[in-house]
Structure formats: structure tokens, C-alpha cells
């Protein structure tokens, strides 16, 4: 015969107890006896229980759950076979000496303990179904119901529980999964929750009940694990349902058990999780489990920090630490379990979730979380959607969706009816045609060759010295690190990333443009027109064909930037999180297009100035002015701009020190590029067709309803025009070029498109309703100009544009022997001179071709080299070869087609000896060239010439042993961070005659041996990068949505 003793544990559970007691009382299967243990509740729990007529044992407040259950078990003797009636049994608690009536019992009794939480209300038939589930299953010692939410009664909480190897409580369910019967099959599980746990009394007693070390949380998993290890089964019975409030884990009541440090539930939960894993797992897995627990705790604590929950982060770390510092407890627990174990651990391992499954579920949860985040209002979307209805709604997506439901088309047919999908297909097809020369690893134009791994870019970013040309200590631009990090998406394959990015740029721009336009119109047709105008705008096409990575990145974030410009007037409404998000966005803009950042900054400055003047004017006129508002606006704007600059330090500081550099975008500076041509003309940089954008802007400017947006466009246009007045030295060149304003031009185009959308939305109803007038012609002019611009751009793109400078071809044309020359330990350099279109270009070549980002690190040559080269070509440079030699330039290479006059000049100038003359060009050897690191001895040996001695060097580092005193020279550009240590003693750095870094080595320095090392000190660089990381981390954390403490989450969301 089956007997059931219900044990109800109560602790400040007055909120839930009425329902719980009612549920117990109304069970379809009678409960033979109910005993409640109250652990020092301070609310009405005890009174409620008493009034319900439940026998109650009152205990101290710090008593753990397991201990409380044990108290109840001890107070309720097991049912025995002899039938008896009305006998009083003594209670185990001495102080609370009470009597419990022993019910009638029968022979062959099978007693079950039904442990119930005070916040758990079993369904009416829960016990009956639980007992039905275990009936005729003698192997089952432990069973549990399906747990659903207390408030959301469809919310599936648990159906059996396990533990992941990182300590997480594992239910295998998705976030807020609704119970639709999808898990309604009986299943063997590792454990069931103690919320409504049914356990055979003899097994419970045999195992010694709950582990007393587990006062709360994870005691269920531990018990289940031990039950299994003892050779029994654990069953989850889906037909049995209980509604659980999870009050303790959801922080709805205080945790008062004795070992709950600081009453923190997460800390207790994590600590017990680690304990359960380490106490029960096989010995061989202990090290890896400990490591995984530690790493998981670190990762989760990082996550909590990002979510702005430092308390939880500390809980995570403290929990693992508290377990690991007391190994004796683990070993004692393991000893106890070893005694009880009957089956091997491998039999239980099947109930632990596999790692792959854990990752997959974690990923899905992360994805869901991200989608939930996206579904909320994004920080940049301060303004509501501009248009609620459209005059051109014949292709409205809502209508399409309605059709889908009514006609039930197939997926393909559905997609084919969507204009965006069709256009995207067409654009991908056109992209394939237009990219016929750009399939594969690409370079050319502004884009240099990509290194095979993105890690190379990260390394470049971290280094303080760059062995390019004459060497450079310039701060590497942030975009290089960002591109390097982005390559992680493709496992570090940078070549593939760049190729894919340039291939996908136009289709992506189309999609982004469409999404952007839809924010201003509900008409699919207008949105598509706008998207096409945007994607095929001259600046974007020019960027694709000329390798302008910065311009393209700006194109992809343009919608957000435009929104931020439009919101600039109401910046006070931005939350602080939105301010941080803006700073992050502007930081990306600054990294990839400093001119675009200038435009954004200038707009904020202008808006701020106008608003501030307006407020002060009000004040002067005696009206109420809100100075707090002024200050808020200024503070928020400053935080956005300063935050963006801070994220880009130390590079941004270099821009501040050299403002002209802030007019350049990433990559090699292009000659002949003039962004005004891209705005007025077409991507072929001509006025063959006139662009529609300025026309739209001009028309919109005189429509009051569109004037605001047109004014922003006009402002951007004016800034572009003003910046175009400057000429600046390009990247990797001393040649003056026009500023790179592609990113800024895209902002103008996008603003004009928004103005155009607004204009159409306003004008079209009037046109429909009026007779032929100037509005018809204006609308026709806009439509035709957009059409013509887009068409001509597309034709250019798939025609001449396909043969643009960016191609799947290697453009680096320096003979291999020149490169090989620099790979020896002397690290000689070569000076390469090429005549092109009447201009003489020169560059100092080292041991490898230039790679992406290199151009942005080198600013000009050095003065002595400039003079030497000028003297070389005029024949006046009597010391040219001497200077070249000092700088470690060993070969002079004049490429084909050779300028004969120049060749003769070099022949005659002295200091150069012809080495070869081939189809590639003429090579001269520079007499007396020094190696990268050389020693000029103080005292010459007999027969020794005055030439310096090579000391050998790596690309950056040089080390070895000195045997003679003298002057050590580094054939690199002077920088005060060059360091030399001789026998760990630092040698003073001086500037040599040719401006090279030198170290005087005295005999006294060599007295203890001459071990030396020469390096470039990157301490300050690392310091700046640390600051940058801190700034970035701070802004990212502030920008990310903060996670709520569980106690702050409405209970309806949790259970």
C-alpha cells in the first residue's frame, strides 16, 4: 500500500502559502499526513499554517532546507506494516515537544515523502499523477512534476533538472518557453526540483537525506545525483503539474540560512553548484571541472560587469573561490558519496548536458536576448517614424502580408512578390558582373595588399615602431585594429574579409538604404527608389572601385549617423545610455572617416551654439530660460564627442596635433579625387551627368515642410566645400592631395535622399489633386534626375568601373632581389625611384611589400633623405650617397622606363656604382652603406678601414655582444624611445650628424662583457592603449542595455 507524507517547508512564505495549502488540501489523491516546518518566518506563515490545521514544527531562522526536511522526517516515523490507530508519536524537536497523530497504516506499506516548497502550488491531481508515474516502477526512488510559473501558468520552468559542467542549472528549456505539451513524455532525469519532490522514504533515509553542506539551492541536483549513484532512477512526470514561485532564487525573500554569506542567493547558488559538481563528478574530471568552473565564473562575471551588475560579478568569483579554498570539504563529501555509490560515474554522465548542446543553447539564448534588445527602441531612434501613411501604398508590405495569409503562397512565391527581394537579387547579379575583376584577394587604389591574417593588423596596432620606409613611430589608426578584429568573423582570414566586404558593399547599402528609407515612408516604391539612389550613389560606387574602406563603413552606418544629426536639436531627451551609444557610433565614424566626424562635430557645435544663444536671448528679454537645459545639452554633446575621441586615443590625439591628417580617410590617398565631383557629378569623377542629390536639396530647401532636413544637407555640403579648399599631404606621400571626403559626401547624399522622400510624400497628394502646374514639372525633374543619376552610375559601375584600380591583381612591382636584400641580418634598405606622368616618385623599400594600413602610418620622408634625393636628381647632391649610406640604403633602383638623363646624372654624381641594368631598371650600389645597426669603433685596428661594423639585427630588435667601444648607430628615423642596454645598463641616446639615433659605448660599459639589446620602448604606447581600452570598455558598458537584478524584474516575467 502506498502512503504519502507531505513535508511543507516554510520561510516567510505568507504570500504564497494560502494557495499552497489550498492545493495540498485539495489533492485528488489523499495525503496521509502533512507536516510543516517553519524556519523562523517573520511574516504570517506560521499563523496561516496553524489556521489551516497543519501540524507545524517551528525551527530557527538560519536552518537550511535539507535540515528542515530532516527535522520533519525525524518527527514522522515511517509507516509500519502493523495496523494501529490513534497513537501519539513524540516529536524529534526537544524544545518544541509536540505530538503528531499517527494515521492508520497497513502492511506492505510503501511510503513516499512529498517535499513541497511554501511557494509551490501543485495542481489538484499532481500527487495522483506522480504516484501513477512511479507505480509499478520499483527502480524509481525520486520523481518530480512538471513545474510551471506561478504567475504565467503556461511558462514551463522545469521538467527534471541537471547541472552543466560550468555549474549552470540545466533544464534544457528555452527562455520563457511556453508549455504546449512539447515535453510531455516521461523521462529519466538526473534530478527533480525540491519544490514538489516525491521520494521514497527508505531511500531518503538510506542516503542520509540532503547534504547538510547544501543549505539551499542545488540540494535537489545533489540528491538526485546520489539517488542515481545508489542505483535508483529519477523520473520527471509531465502529467503532474505544480506551479512554482521560485521566490528564493528570484530574490523575493531574504536568504537567511546560516552559510549564506551576505544573504546573496546567487553567491549561494554558484557556490553550491561548484560543490555539487566537485563532490559528485569522477575524480579524473576534477581538474578540468575546476578550471571550467573558474573560467565560466570569470566569463559570467565579465558579462555581469558589462550588464552593470558588479554585485553579481563578485558573487560569481567569490562562489568559486569559497569552494576551491576549502578542498577538505570536497574530499569529505566525495568520501561519503563513494561509500553510497553503487554504479559507475559514466552511467550518470549521460544525464549531464553535452558541451556542444550547452554552447548551442547558450548561443540561442544570446541570440534571443539580442533579438529582444533589437525589438526594443534603439538608442538612435529618438524620433518616431516620420510617416504613418503613404500616398503610394499600392505595394505596401502590410498588404503583401495580408495576401500571404489569405493566399498561402509558397516561400519562393512569397519572396518573388517582394520588391526588395527581387531588387536585391538583381543587385547581387549586377554586383557579380561589376566585380568580375574583383573576385578573390583584391588590392589597388587606396587599398593595399591584405596580410593573410587579421592578427597581423592587431600586431601592427600594438607595436610602437613600424619598420616601413624610413621607420615610423606614428600611432596606428584605430580602424586597423577594428578591421583586424572584424577578421575574427572569418577565422582571421583578412583577404576574404576584405574581398567579401567590397563585394557585399552595394547589396548591403541597398538593404540598409531601404530599411532607412522605410523609417520615413510607408511606401515600398519610394523606399526602393531611395535605396537605389543611395546604394548607387557616386561616393559609394567610387569607394568600391577605388578601395575606400572608410567611406564604405560610413555608408553602412549612415542611417544611424543621419538619425543622430536629426536628433541633435533634442539631444536632452537622449538617455545616458543613448549618449554612450552615440559616442560609440561617433568613435567608429572618427576611426573610419575623420572628415565625416568633423561634419558631425561641426553640426553639433552649430546646433549647440544656436540653442545656447537662443536661451540667453530669452534670458536677456526677460523670458524664462532654462539654463539647466543648456548645460545638459552641452554636457551630452561634449560627452558624445569627447567619448569618441577618447575611444580613438592615442591616434585621435595625433589628429589633434596634426589637424591636416584629420582630412584623410583610411588607405592610400588618391590623386585626382575631388568629392565635389562625386556630389555634383558621377562616380567617374566627371560632370557627364549631373547628380540628383544637390537638385533635391535645393528644391527641398524652399519647401517649409522639408526645410529642416534640407538645411542639414546644406550644412554638410558647405562643410564639404570648405574642407575642399585645403590641400594636404596624403597618406604615405609628401604629395599634396585634396581631402578625402567620401564619408562626408555620403552623409550629404543620405540627407538629400531623406529630403527627397519627405518632398515626395508632401507633393504627390497635391499633384494628384491639382491641374498641371510647376509642381508637376518639379516632381518630374526630381524623378528623371534620380533615374538618370542611378542609371548612369549603374552603367559606369558595370562598365568602366569594373576596370577600376581595385582588382584581383598584385600591383606591387618591386623586383624580388630588392626585397631579398633586406632580409639579411644587415637589414639593408633600397631606394626606389619611378618616373610616372612627368613626376618622380621615390620610396624606401624594406623586406616585404606594403600591407593594408601601412600607408596610414607613414607621414613623409625625412629631411636629409629628401635633400639627398633632390640632390641626386639634379646632380648637385654631392653628399647624397653618404646620406643614403648612413640611413642603411644600400641599393638605388631606377625603374623602367629609365630616364636616361637621370641615369647619367646618378652615374656621375659619385658614390654610386652601377650594379646591374635589366629590363626592370638600373640598380646602383651605394658606396659604404651601413647596416641597420652598426658600430663605428673608437680605435681602428691595423688595416681596418673607417667603415662601420655591422651588428646584425632583426626587424625590430637587435641583440648581441659588443667587444669594442665606439658609436652604435641605428639606421632608422630618430625617435626618443630608442633604447640600448649594455649589460643591462641603459646607454644615453643621442642624435647623430645625419639625424640618426646613436649610442656612445665607452670602454667602461664593456668592462663586464658587452651583451647588448636595442629596442624601441613601447611603454608609453602600451599606456595609451590601456587608456583606450578603459575608455572603450567604459563606453561599451554604458551603452549596453543594463540587466536588471532578479529582484527588480517583475515576478510575472520570471515565473
Amino acid at each position: 500500500m502506498t502512503r504519502v507524507t507531505a513535508i511543507l517547508i516554510s520561510h516567510d512564505g505568507a504570500t504564497w502559502l494560502p494557495q499552497t495549502v489550498a492545493a495540498l488540501a485539495s489533492q485528488s489523491h489523499p495525503i496521509d499526513r502533512i507536516v510543516a516546518v517553519d524556519t523562523g518566518s517573520t511574516d504570517d506563515s506560521v499563523r496561516l499554517l496553524r489556521s489551516a490545521g497543519i501540524h507545524i514544527i517551528e525551527s530557527r531562522r538560519g536552518m537550511g532546507f535539507g535540515e528542515a526536511v530532516q527535522v520533519a522526517v525525524d518527527a514522522t516515523p515511517a509507516f509500519v506494516a502493523t495496523q494501529s490507530k490513534g497513537k501519539s508519536l513524540p516529536s524529534s524537536s526537544g524544545s518544541n515537544s509536540q505530538k503528531i497523530e499517527e494515521p492508520n497504516v497497513e502492511q506492505e506499506v510503501q511510503e513516499w515523502l512529498w517535499i513541497v516548497h511554501d511557494d509551490c502550488a501543485p495542481a489538484k491531481d499532481a500527487l495522483e499523477r506522480l504516484l501513477a508515474g512511479v507505480k509499478e516502477k520499483p527502480q524509481v526512488a525520486l520523481a518530480g512534476p512538471k513545474l510551471r510559473g506561478w504567475h504565467d501558468r503556461k511558462h514551463l520552468l522545469e521538467l527534471g533538472v541537471s547541472i552543466a559542467t560550468n555549474g549552470a542549472r540545466w533544464t534544457g528549456l528555452e527562455y520563457r518557453e511556453q508549455d504546449q505539451g512539447q515535453h510531455d513524455d516521461e523521462r529519466d532525469v538526473l534530478a527533480v526540483s525540491t519544490a514538489a519532490m516525491l521520494i521514497r522514504r527508505e531511500v531518503f533515509t538510506e542516503l542520509g537525506g540532503f547534504d547538510p553542506k547544501l543549505s539551499l539551492f542545488r540540494d535537489d541536483v545533489d540528491l538526485g545525483w546520489r539517488v542515481r549513484a545508489a542505483g535508483h532512477s529519477v523520473l520527471a512526470v509531465p502529467e503532474a503539474i505544480a506551479y512554482h514561485g521560485e521566490a528564493a532564487s528570484n530574490e523575493r525573500r531574504s536568504i537567511d540560512v546560516d552559510d549564506a554569506l551576505l544573504h546573496r542567493p546567487l553567491l549561494l547558488d554558484r557556490r553550491h553548484a561548484a560543490y555539487v559538481l566537485l563532490a559528485n563528478a569522477s575524480l579524473i574530471f576534477l581538474p578540468i571541472l575546476a578550471l571550467q568552473l573558474l573560467l565560466s565564473a570569470l566569463a559570467r562575471s565579465m558579462g555581469y560587469l558589462i550588464a552593470k551588475l558588479p554585485g553579481y560579478a563578485l558573487d560569481e568569483l567569490a562562489a568559486v573561490a569559497l569552494v576551491l579554498i576549502k578542498p577538505q570539504e570536497i574530499f569529505a563529501a566525495r568520501k561519503e558519496r563513494r561509500r553510497q555509490r553503487l554504479i559507475p560515474g559514466s552511467a550518470i554522465r549521460t544525464f549531464l548536458p553535452p558541451r556542444g548542446f550547452q554552447f548551442r543553447l547558450a548561443f540561442e539564448r544570446a541570440r534571443n536576448a539580442f533579438e529582444r534588445y533589437l525589438s526594443r527602441r534603439i538608442p538612435f531612434q529618438l524620433l518616431p517614424n516620420e510617416s504613418e501613411s503613404s500616398v503610394l501604398d499600392i505595394n505596401d508590405e502590410k498588404l503583401e502580408e495580408e495576401e500571404i495569409f489569405t493566399e498561402r503562397k509558397s516561400t519562393i512565391r512569397t519572396l518573388l512578390t517582394r520588391p526588395l527581394f527581387l531588387f536585391s537579387l538583381a543587385v547581387v547579379f549586377l554586383t557579380l558582373i561589376a566585380s568580375r575583376n574583383r573576385l578573390g584577394a583584391i588590392e589597388g587604389g587606396a587599398l593595399l595588399q591584405s596580410p593573410s591574417s587579421g592578427w597581423d593588423l592587431i600586431e601592427k596596432y600594438l607595436e610602437s615602431w613600424h619598420p616601413i620606409a624610413l621607420g615610423s613611430s606614428a600611432n596606428t589608426p584605430t580602424w586597423i585594429a577594428l578591421v583586424g578584429l572584424a577578421s575574427a568573423l572569418l577565422l582571421g582570414n583578412l583577404k576574404l574579409l576584405i574581398a567579401l566586404f567590397f563585394f557585399a558593399a552595394i547589396p548591403l547599402a541597398l538593404w540598409i538604404g531601404y530599411r532607412f528609407a522605410k523609417a520615413f515612408t510607408t511606401s515600398t516604391l519610394i523606399a526602393l527608389m531611395a535605396a537605389i539612389a543611395f546604394a548607387f550613389s557616386p561616393p559609394i560606387l567610387h569607394a568600391v572601385t577605388h578601395g575606400l574602406i572608410g567611406t564604405l563603413v560610413i555608408a553602412l552606418i549612415t542611417p544611424l549617423l543621419i538619425r543622430s544629426m536629426m536628433n541633435a536639436g533634442v539631444i536632452e531627451h537622449l538617455s545616458w545610455r543613448a549618449v554612450a551609444a552615440h559616442a560609440l557610433l561617433y568613435a567608429i565614424a572618427l576611426a573610419f572617416s575623420p572628415p565625416a566626424f568633423i561634419v558631425l562635430g561641426a553640426w553639433h557645435f552649430l546646433t549647440s551654439a544656436i540653442q545656447t544663444i537662443g536661451e540667453f536671448r530669452k534670458r536677456l528679454m526677460g523670458a524664462n530660460s532654462d539654463l539647466d537645459l543648456v548645460i545638459t545639452r552641452i554636457v551630452k554633446r561634449s560627452l558624445i564627442l569627447v567619448g569618441a575621441i577618447a575611444i580613438n586615443i592615442p591616434w585621435s590625439l595625433e589628429l589633434l596635433a596634426h589637424p591636416s591628417r584629420s582630412l584623410l580617410e583610411p588607405g592610400v590617398s588618391l590623386e585626382g579625387a575631388h568629392e565635389l565631383l562625386l556630389i555634383f557629378g558621377n562616380p567617374g569623377l566627371s560632370f557627364a551627368t549631373l547628380s540628383a542629390a544637390p537638385i533635391i536639396m535645393m528644391i527641398a530647401l524652399f519647401r517649409r515642410d522639408c526645410q529642416a532636413i534640407a538645411l542639414i544637407a546644406l550644412f554638410v555640403f558647405s562643410v564639404i566645400a570648405l574642407l575642399s579648399l585645403f590641400s594636404i599631404a596624403g597618406h604615405g606621400s609628401s604629395q599634396l592631395v585634396a581631402p578625402s571626403l567620401g564619408g562626408a559626401a555620403i552623409l550629404f547624399i543620405a540627407l538629400s535622399i531623406v529630403a527627397g522622400i519627405r518632398l515626395l510624400e508632401l507633393v504627390l497628394p497635391q499633384i494628384r489633386e491639382s491641374a498641371l502646374n510647376f509642381r508637376h514639372f518639379a516632381a518630374a525633374a526630381i524623378a528623371i534626375s534620380v533615374l538618370l543619376t542611378s542609371l548612369s552610375s549603374i552603367i559606369w559601375w558595370i562598365g568602366p568601373g569594373a576596370d577600376g584600380p581595385v582588382r584581383n591583381e598584385e600591383t606591387f612591382s618591386v623586383p624580388a632581389f630588392i626585397i631579398a636584400n633586406a632580409t639579411t641580418q644587415e637589414r639593408y634598405k633600397s631606394l626606389l625611384i619611378r618616373e610616372r606622368e612627368g613626376r618622380l616618385l621615390y620610396w624606401v623599400v624594406r623586406d616585404k611589400p606594403l600591407e593594408i594600413g601601412d600607408s596610414d602610418i607613414v607621414y613623409g620622408s625625412s629631411e636629409p633623405i629628401e635633400e639627398a634625393v633632390a640632390g641626386l636628381v639634379t646632380g648637385a647632391g654631392i653628399e647624397s650617397s653618404s646620406i643614403f649610406g648612413d640611413y642603411g640604403i644600400r641599393y638605388l633602383f631606377l625603374t623602367q622606363p629609365v630616364n636616361k638623363s637621370l641615369a647619367r646624372t646618378i652615374d656621375g654624381i659619385g658614390g654610386f656604382t652601377r650594379a646591374s641594368s635589366t629590363d626592370a631598371g638600373i640598380v646602383w650600389k651605394v658606396v659604404g652603406a651601413s647596416s641597420r645597426v652598426s658600430l663605428l669603433p673608437d680605435v681602428l685596428d691595423d688595416g681596418e678601414s673607417e667603415l662601420s661594423i655591422s651588428l646584425g639585427s632583426e626587424e625590430l630588435l637587435a641583440e648581441g655582444t659588443l667587444t669594442r667601444s665606439g658609436t652604435v648607430t641605428i639606421a632608422e628615423r630618430f625617435d626618443d624611445r630608442w633604447r640600448m642596454l649594455v649589460n643591462n645598463n641603459r646607454v644615453e641616446l643621442t642624435r647623430g650628424v645625419s639625424g640618426l639615433p646613436q649610442f656612445e659605448i665607452t670602454s667602461s660599459l664593456l668592462s663586464e662583457g658587452g651583451d647588448f639589446i636595442i629596442y624601441h620602448d613601447g611603454t608609453s604606447r602600451r599606456g595609451w592603449l590601456s587608456l583606450q581600452f578603459i575608455a572603450l570598455a567604459t563606453v561599451v558598458i554604458l551603452a549596453l542595455p543594463s540587466r536588471r537584478r532578479r529582484s527588480d524584474v517583475p515576478i510575472e516575467e520570471l515565473s
Binding site: S724, V737, A738, L840, W843, V873, G875, I909, G910, W924
Partner: protein, 440 residues
């Protein structure tokens, strides 16, 4: 209502006006920006003056160089060292060999003289690709030789062609090792030729060539002088032809011409003497056969002041005037027209002849004392000016191109030197440090 309407209309006009003004302003800026052109298309040019070579031939004559200043950097032409050092003295005695002088806008001059026998002068220069010398002799008694100097650190190849009265008489290809010089006797190139013309072509490297003509009869010296190199041209101006030595008129003046091209030239020779310009009898419409040296005798009396010849030709010609007293001679060679010229006279007191359409030259003379004199030299066609005593550096400047030449006479002899810059301001495209050099 009416008032509100008026306000609204005014406001409407106002914002439209503001918009229009903003638009016009922006368009104006963009117009200015677009007119700027592409800065990358602007090619900068650099100008500098290459180093020159001052020759020193062997023998017992004394050679000094009149350098721009004692601080001028020089180096031994035979030295492989690249570094230059200050001369420290001026005039600088060329005791060991030829020297290389760092570039300057003031030309250096070499004066080679032998006490009581001859004096000669030439401008230090750096050889261009093609140098023409009309003068020197391969006849008996002539020890004329051409000095070729390779001051570079790589081997150079030159070709010397000689022409006589009957055409091309010899050709020699010489490989000059780095930092070396070599003398080639004219009689080995054109044995027996009374007057020769030499063309020195530099095939590789930069070689400077100098021709020194020295003659004697037995133990008696007949004089010596440098024959300055010149470029063939259709108009030549030979100034500062010496006419008097030690108070006596010089009787022998011969003009030697060669048409350097493949076609014969027809020349007209005009003589400017003591302010008058005329064509001497027989010197009009003279046909000069191609690549043959033609000698024309000039009138015995050329006036009291140094004479000038102006030669116009239908084809490029090279020419020089041989002036001889029987015991000393001088070669006068064409000079090129200049607007600016700097020359260190080193204490000499030469007579400088300036020839142009109209001469308006300002001369700044720096004296040994440091004092600077300014002299305006104006005239119709030819102006002659004797340099004041104790002069060091003279800088001439003129609005129009002027041909300058100098001649002086001393107890050692007399000489004439065209005041050509030893090297021209070399203009070249400024090389740009640009990584575009890496891409073909």
C-alpha cells in the same frame, strides 16, 4: 487677421531669403573649391647647382682656382671619399690634381700660368653629354692635350672625335675608371692637323673635359691657353678677343669654324670693334662645309679694345678665335647670354665685355676690404668695363640676356675667357616621397 497674415508673409519671405542666401554662399564656396584644381596634379620643381670640376694638368705651370669663397667645399677629384671639406684659401692652389667644387651660383675659374711664358684661364665646369672644342693643334710643336676627368665613383665611357680641315680625322673611345683623369694628346688623335675641332661625347657617367693648347718651337714657348668648350649653335657671340698685349696690337686673329651637323652652313660674321659693328670683307655668306674645320683670317687691326664677333649661321656651328703674338696666344670662345652672373676675379683686373641688344647691367663689386661697389653699365650694344683693383666677387645682373667675356694681360701673357657658368642651375622635377613608386 490681416496683421497676422502680414507677419506670416514676412516670416515666409524671411526664411526663403535666408535659405537662398545660405545656398548661394555654399555654392560660391564649392565653386571656389572646384576651381582650385587637383593639387596632386601640380608638379613641383627643384633647382640646384651641381658640383663642378676644376682641372689641373701636369707640368711645371702653376694652377690656381678662383673659388666663390674660402668656405667653398672642395674635394680631390681622385679621392673616393664622398665628404667635401672647406677650401680654407682663395685663390686655391691646385698642387696635387684636379678638384671637385661644390655647387654655387658663382662660377669658379682656373688660371694656369707659367712665369713669363703664358697665362690661361677656363671656367670650372661639369661636363654635359656633348662638348665641342674648336682649337688646339696636332701639328709639330704642339703639346695640346685634352684632359678628361671622371669624378664619379663608377667607370665612365667617353668618345672623342677629332675633325680637321679635311673632315673627321680620328676617334677614340675611352673607359675612364672611377675618380680618375686622363690626358689625351691631340697629335695622337689628329696628327699633323694645324687646327682641330674635338667633340667629346659622354656615353655613361659624367665626365668633364678640358682642352689645353700649348705650343713651342724647340725650347721656345709659343704660348698656351685653354680652349673653352661650347655648344654648337646657329648664333655665336665671341667676346673679349684680345687685341693688345704689353701695349702693342696683336696682329694675328683667325676664326676657326666647324659645322657640326651633317649639312654645310652658310655663315655671316660681324665684327664689333671699338663701338662699331661691321662685316669684314670676305666674311659674309661664307660656306662652311660640314664636319670640316674652316679657318678664316680676321683683319689685322681689330681696334684698341677687346673685339667681339657675332656669327650667324644657317646650321649649328662651333667656333673660336685664335689670337697670337708669336710668343703667346689665346683662344676666344663663344659665351652664352645670361641675366645673372657671379664671378670671383680674385684680384685680377680684367676687361669685361658685355654684348647684347642693349646693355643695362648692374655690377656689384665686393672689394678685398669687404666694401661693396655698385656700378651701372649701360650702352647700346657693347659695353666694356675694366674691373677696379682689389676686386673679389662681382655679381652682374641685367634685365636682358647679355654675353659676358673677360680678357686680361699680364707679364706672363694674355688670355680670354668666356664668362659662362661652369654649371647651370639644374632644374628637375622635385622627387616626391610617395608609395606610388612601388606600383607599376
Amino acid at each position: 487677421m490681416s496683421s497676422q497674415g502680414t507677419v506670416r508673409r514676412k516670416s515666409f519671405r524671411s526664411w526663403r531669403l535666408q535659405s537662398a542666401l545660405l545656398l548661394i554662399g555654399s555654392l560660391l564656396i564649392s565653386f571656389v573649391a572646384s576651381r582650385q584644381g587637383d593639387p596632386s596634379a601640380q608638379v613641383e620643381r627643384t633647382a640646384s647647382i651641381p658640383a663642378t670640376v676644376c682641372p689641373n694638368l701636369g707640368g711645371d705651370a702653376r694652377t690656381v682656382a678662383l673659388l666663390p669663397s674660402a668656405a667653398t667645399k672642395i674635394k680631390d677629384a681622385k679621392s673616393r671619399k664622398i665628404n667635401f671639406a672647406k677650401a680654407k684659401s682663395n685663390p686655391y692652389l691646385l698642387a696635387r690634381g684636379s678638384i671637385v667644387v661644390s655647387g654655387s651660383d658663382v662660377s669658379s675659374t682656373v688660371i694656369r700660368s707659367r712665369a713669363g711664358k703664358f697665362t690661361s684661364a677656363t671656367t670650372c665646369l661639369i661636363g654635359s653629354g656633348d662638348q665641342w672644342f674648336v682649337g688646339g693643334s696636332g701639328a709639330l710643336g704642339s703639346t695640346a692635350r685634352i684632359l678628361v676627368i671622371n669624378s664619379g665613383l663608377s667607370t665612365s665611357t667617353i668618345e672623342i672625335r677629332s675633325f680637321g680641315k679635311s673632315g673627321k680625322s680620328g676617334e677614340k673611345v675611352i673607359a675612364l675608371p672611377a675618380v680618375s683623369q686622363r690626358e689625351v694628346r691631340i697629335d695622337s688623335l689628329a696628327p699633323g692637323e694645324e687646327v682641330v675641332a674635338l667633340e667629346v661625347i659622354t656615353r655613361s657617367g659624367r665626365v668633364s673635359a678640358f682642352l689645353f693648347d700649348q705650343r713651342g718651337r724647340g725650347l721656345n714657348s709659343l704660348g698656351g691657353d685653354f680652349v673653352s668648350s661650347s655648344e654648337a649653335s646657329e648664333r655665336l657671340v665671341i667676346t673679349s678677343i684680345p687685341v693688345r698685349h704689353r701695349g702693342s696690337a696683336i696682329a694675328t686673329h683667325q676664326l676657326h669654324l666647324i659645322a657640326t651637323g651633317s649639312r654645310s652652313a652658310v655663315v655671316d660674321v660681324e665684327l664689333v670693334s671699338d663701338g662699331s659693328r661691321f662685316t669684314p670683307v670676305g666674311l659674309s655668306d661664307r660656306t662652311i662645309e660640314s664636319q670640316r674645320v674652316t679657318s678664316l683670317r680676321l683683319p689685322k687691326e681689330l681696334g684698341k679694345r677687346p673685339a667681339t664677333l657675332i656669327i650667324t649661321s644657317t646650321e649649328p656651328v662651333a667656333a673660336s678665335v685664335f689670337t697670337s703674338t708669336g710668343r703667346e696666344f689665346a683662344w676666344s670662345t663663344p659665351s652664352i647670354a645670361l641675366k645673372r652672373l657671379g664671378w670671383n676675379v680674385g684680384g685680377l683686373e680684367p676687361t669685361i665685355t658685355m654684348v647684347g641688344k642693349s646693355v643695362r647691367v648692374t655690377a656689384l663689386v665686393k672689394l678685398r676690404s669687404g666694401k661693396v661697389l655698385t656700378k651701372n653699365l649701360n650702352g647700346a650694344e657693347v659695353v666694356q668695363w675694366k674691373v677696379p683693383p682689389n676686386s673679389r666677387l662681382i655679381r652682374f645682373s641685367s634685365l636682358d640676356p647679355i654675353h659676358f667675356g673677360a680678357t686680361w694681360s699680364s707679364s706672363d701673357g694674355f688670355t680670354s675667357v668666356p664668362l659662362n657658368p661652369g654649371t647651370e642651375l639644374e632644374r628637375a622635377t622635385t622627387p616626391t616621397f610617395d608609395l606610388g613608386a612601388l606600383f607599376g
